[in-house]
Structures are given as structure tokens and as C-alpha cells.
Amino acid sequence: MEFSGAEILFKCLEAEEVEYIFGYPGGAVLHIYDALYQQEAVKHILVRHEQGATHAADGYSRSTGKPGVCLVTSGPGATNAVTGLATAYTDSIPLVVITGQVPQAMIGTDAFQECDIIGISRPCVKHNFLVDSLENLATTIKKAFHIATTGRPGPVVIDIPKNLTDPKVRIPFEYPAEIEMRSYKPATAGISGDIRRAVDLLLSAKKPMIYAGGGVILGESSSQLTALSRELGYPVTNTLMGLGCYPASDDQFIGMLGMHGTYESNMAMHECDVLLAVGARFDDRVTGQIDTFCPYARVIHIDVDPSNIAKNFPVEVPIVGDTGHVLDDMLAVLSETNRRPDPEPLSQWWDQIKSWQAVNSYNYDRNSDLIKPQYVVEKYCELTEGQAFVTSDVGQHQMFAAQFYRFDQPRRWINSGGLGTMGFGLPAAMGVRFAHPDAEIACVTGEGSVQMCIQELSTCKQYGVAFNILNLNNGYLGMVRQWQEFTYESRYSSSYVDALPDFVKLVESYGHVGMVIDKPGDVEGALREAIAQKDRLCFLDFRIDTEENVYPMIEQGKGHHQMRLNPRRSEFS
């Protein structure tokens, strides 16, 4: 049998067990859309904007661990996908994005809808390919999935010139079972000597800290991390990207760290003598002013990407490897030795941490007449027993979601951490829904962010995608306003969103359910009603306190031990 390039593409996707592709048609991919029409293995979701396709594929991937797949046309289709590529790239999310390209003979002629997406996307993809011949198409796709999903995951672009998908040009097809790339061999296991050294150092700690990030989730190693932490009895903090990799309701979990993390996590980072960093990249939102970061700590760092080790901070025991492999090996070393942490200093350390916890740094005014954003998230967490998938956008609402929804499982918290892409939440929730037809899903967003991909409400209608949108509407680009309040003497330059739409009418026009909630007493009822409506998308427009701030906060240039706490905290019950 012989197949066209377009048919081969779908055969490859089928072989990769791709269930859904998110896409948008156009001239350069018409042959591909015609082949799509004639196959059944892969289901196509027609989005309303290519950015939505990338974020939906991304949400699908973050919630499953499988790669997300997109199909877009050349030129504007491809450029619209760039924000989604960059979002996935900074958070190490595996995507395979197929872009149409003008026919090979026309490349370089400024042809209609020609653009150099290979050049444009290069700095924000793990790798990209311009397919050069029909014969190489299948291997290229195999390589793309291999690269996207192994090592430190990331997005891969496959740019396919239109002539290579021509239905009249046909060749036999065989999908390579294995792929060997001499130039790409990501590390898996760490060096055993280093692993022993790491365990020794950990056991010698008097004030230990475990700082776990997104790499634990990407490496599917939450259970090993939890087992190791429990075995040692050490405090655990998570980055924004790591939330859920260690159960938030466990006593050893002391909250997120970094700019808007808990007081106790940041103080413990500052004071700790041994730090185990697992799948975390010492981001500047985490470290604060780097010269004051962890001044007393000897650092062990496990990361699959050698370039992330000692990039921002010196490391005593570097371990290049996959979190799962390395944590397994550490557990094995620990089970061979009967050495255990010295209980005396450890219990003193915990006492110290408990005194920091008593500051109650996330506390907010529970007696306010206004709806507090924290309350909405806290209630939602309570009503869903911490089991929902929560996507988010970027801003204050994102931080409130991270602080007040307690994730006990990995892959439930889905947000754009590294790039901070407003517009991510709604399409991401859509992607989560396709992967988890029966789960409870909410997108916690703000009136600013949600308008950046609002058009995807139409996609949701077309495919009967239902989830809840919790719009924490403060009428401000709140995060920007907060910074202006703190550092620009409250000069609210362009952070007020005038002329907001009537969100209820807007979502109703898309065929969904909308509600306005403006009293604290109505929050719980509205949430219950939305959760109960399984088959309708509900948009809850919460009119919240317009000037609530996210606390605590490490301001620019400050260290972990210099957090700004809520100045009104003594008034809160």
C-alpha cells in the first residue's frame, strides 16, 4: 500500500496513540485536513484562534502527562501559535505542533502566507524540523514525539511544506518502532556515588528542607518524593509549578515558597542547613534577591537538564538524572543504611517552623462585607474536596488559587508559571476536559486575563465542553495595580479595566450559563449550583473586593527573610 504525506501524518499520530489534535485549517494544510476527514483514529477539535489550540493541547498534556498535539496553517496560523509554544517551553511541557508551510519550490519567494516559523520559533521550542522529503516524514514525526516527551520535555514544531502532503504523491509507509539519535541521549539515572553523597548529606542535616518543583510532576515521581520525605520526616515546600507533587494536606507540607509563598517556607529556606532541590530551577520568583538566598545551605540538586544545575546558584551535590530514577535510588540507599536523621535537632527545627506557621501569613479578612477572592477559592476547594482540576490565568487570582486550593495530587494545578501567559486558563481547561470527561474542572481567572482567549467559549459550545469559570472580577489588572500601589505610589497607570463586558450576557450569547455574585453570602450557593451543573459551562462573575492584595510578598531586591506581610493581619480573626 502507498500513502500520501497527509495520510502518513495521521498514521503516525495513530501510532503515537494521539487521541485529539487541536487545530485550525488554512491553505497550506488543506491536504492534511482532507486526509483528516477520511480517517477516524484521531479526533480534531476546531478552536477559534491558534493560541487557543496550543493552550488546549498544553492543558491536555499537563493533566495527563501525554504530549499535546496541534495542527495549524502556515503564516498567521503559525505565528498565532507562538505564544503557546513559548508558554509550553518555559514550563517544559511536551507539545508537537504541526505547521503547514508553502510548497518547497516557493520557500524563500515571499509566497502567500509564507513565514519562517522555524526561525521564529527556534528560541521557544525544544527543537524544530522543516521536513525535507516525503521519505523522511515518518522518521521526523517519530523524532519529534521522542524529543518532546523525553529528558526535559518541551514543545517541538514540525513544519511541513504543502507539496509533501499532496494526495497524488504516494509512498509506502512504515513507522519506525525505535529511534536512535546520536546527538540526543538524555540522562536517566544519576551517578551512584553522588546519590550516596546526597543521602549522607541529607542525613547529617539539622535544619533540612526539601524544595520540589515541576520536574517531580514531569518525571511522574510524586510517590517517590512523598516516600522519601516521609521516611526522613523533613519539611517540604513546592514551587508554583510543583504544587500537588507533594500532598498539600500532609503535615510535612509547609506551603509554596517564593514571592507569594508562605512565610514559613521562605523563612525555612533562609535558615536551612541542607537543601534538597528536586526538579526545580531556582527561578528568580522563587529565590528573591539571589545574594541573600539560602545563606547557610549545602545544596543537593536533582535535575535532568544539566544546564539548570548551578545556573543561578552554586550546588554541592549535583545529580543529573530523572527525578523518578534518582529518588528510587536514594530510597534504596536509605533502606540499606540504618542511619536516620537525629531526632533532637529535627524536632527543634519543626518547633521553629511551627512558630513561623503561627504567623498565618495567608490569613485574610473573613468578616468583610465584600467578597474576598481568597474566600471564593477556599470555598471551592472545600466543596470539591481538593480533587478538582484547576486551571488559571495570570495575576492576583492565579496566586490566590495557588495559595488557597490545596492540591493533594499532581497534574491537578494547571497554570502558566514561567511565561505568565494571560489567556492560558480558559483554553487549558478545555484541553483538560477532553482528557478527563467526568472530572470537576474550574478555571480561576480574572476579568483581564479571561478576555484574552474568550473566543474559545465558542469551541466549548461546539463540543459540549463544560467546566466552571470562576472570574475573580476586581475591575483591575490587579497584579499590575498591586505593584503600582507598592512601588509607584498608587499611580494606577493603565491598570483599570474600563468598559468591561456584561459577562453574563456574553457567555449566554455563546450558549453558556452566567451568574453575577456580589455578596459573600451568595458565594457558596453559586459554587454549589455551578458544580452541580455537569453538562453546562458556568461562568461565575464574582465581584470581589477591588483592592485586595496578594500577601505575603517578597518585593524586588528582597530576600526570603524580608517578606512583606499583610499590614492588617492583626485585625483578622
Partner: protein
């Protein structure tokens, strides 16, 4: 400090722009970059001369090595190595300049590879210091054009950068 990074990269279209793009995106210095296919035509050998302190250069090497197309990479900082650069320089050569130039070329063990009534093209090979010294020795008004290849380097002894 000056460092030399040598690498083997898949000889595919776009490979050079991946390296060049990485350096500009991350703000790394490139003093020179040379690239050409090796005896194995599927591989290109690249030599990059860069500046930075040890931590910076370690990052540069790791980030470069991370590029999917890079097969192998070494940094010749500690390693004893030989480095060479080739220069061709077009000199004004009239009257007494002709003899002066010939003498200088002999001292630097260069070659005159093109001769006209009024010009010489001189080829000089050596490490960058020697080439700089040659240029300094020629009166500047005599220099019409300079082209330098950039540095290539190789380790001394047994160690070999091969697949």
C-alpha cells in the same frame, strides 16, 4: 577569560543558526565561530571562541551542548591544545614596500599568494597573537584589506573529538 569550545554538530540545514541564535538570545559573546563539514560529511565541526568567567562559560558550554543537533562538545580551557587561524591580507606593494613586505612575510613564515604591480596578497597562519603581531608590524596605510578565518582548535595527544 577567553575559552575555546569545539563541537560536532549534525550537518543539517539550520544547524549554524541554532548555535548563532542561542548565543545572541542569551547574550553570550562570540569572538569567532568557524564551521565546516568533517571527514564524515554528515557532521560539521565548529570552533567557538568566547569570553566569560568560568561559571558563564560552563553555562555557555552546557546550553550549547543541549542543542538537539550537537553530537559532542569539549571546552579547551584546561586541555593542552593547538589553535590556528588563517589570515589573508592585501597589502599595497609599490617601490620599497615590496621588499619590506617580503621580508616581514618571511619572518612570520607567511606566503605571498597573489602578486600584481601594486599589491600583494599575503597568507599568514598561526595563533591569533601571531596574526595580530603581523598586522601590527605592517604600516597601517599599507593594509588594503584583511580577512581572517577565525580560530580552529584541536587537543594535543590522544584525546580526540569523534563520534
Amino acid at each position: 577569560m577567553r575559552h575555546i569550545i569545539s563541537l560536532l554538530i549534525e550537518n543539517e540545514s539550520g544547524a549554524l543558526s541554532r548555535v548563532a541564535g542561542l548565543y545572541s538570545a542569551r547574550g553570550y559573546n562570540i569572538e569567532s565561530l568557524t564551521v565546516a563539514p568533517t571527514d564524515d560529511p554528515s557532521l560539521s565541526r565548529m570552533t567557538i571562541v568566547t569570553y566569560g568567567n568560568d561559571t558563564v562559560v560552563e553555562q555557555i558550554a552546557k546550553q550549547t551542548d543541549k542543542l538537539i543537533d550537537v553530537v559532542r562538545l569539549v571546552t579547551y580551557t584546561e586541555t593542552p591544545h593547538v589553535e590556528r587561524e588563517l589570515m589573508m591580507v592585501k597589502l599595497r606593494a609599490v617601490g620599497s614596500q615590496r621588499e619590506e613586505a617580503t621580508r616581514l612575510v618571511a619572518i612570520f613564515r607567511g606566503k605571498i599568494v597573489d602578486v600584481t604591480d601594486s599589491t600583494y596578497v599575503v597568507e599568514v597562519t598561526g595563533d591569533s597573537g601571531k596574526i595580530d603581531a603581523f598586522l601590527a608590524a605592517v604600516p597601517s596605510e599599507q593594509i588594503l584589506e584583511v580577512v581572517r578565518s577565525g580560530v580552529v582548535g584541536i587537543a594535543r595527544g590522544e584525546s580526540a573529538l569523534k563520534v
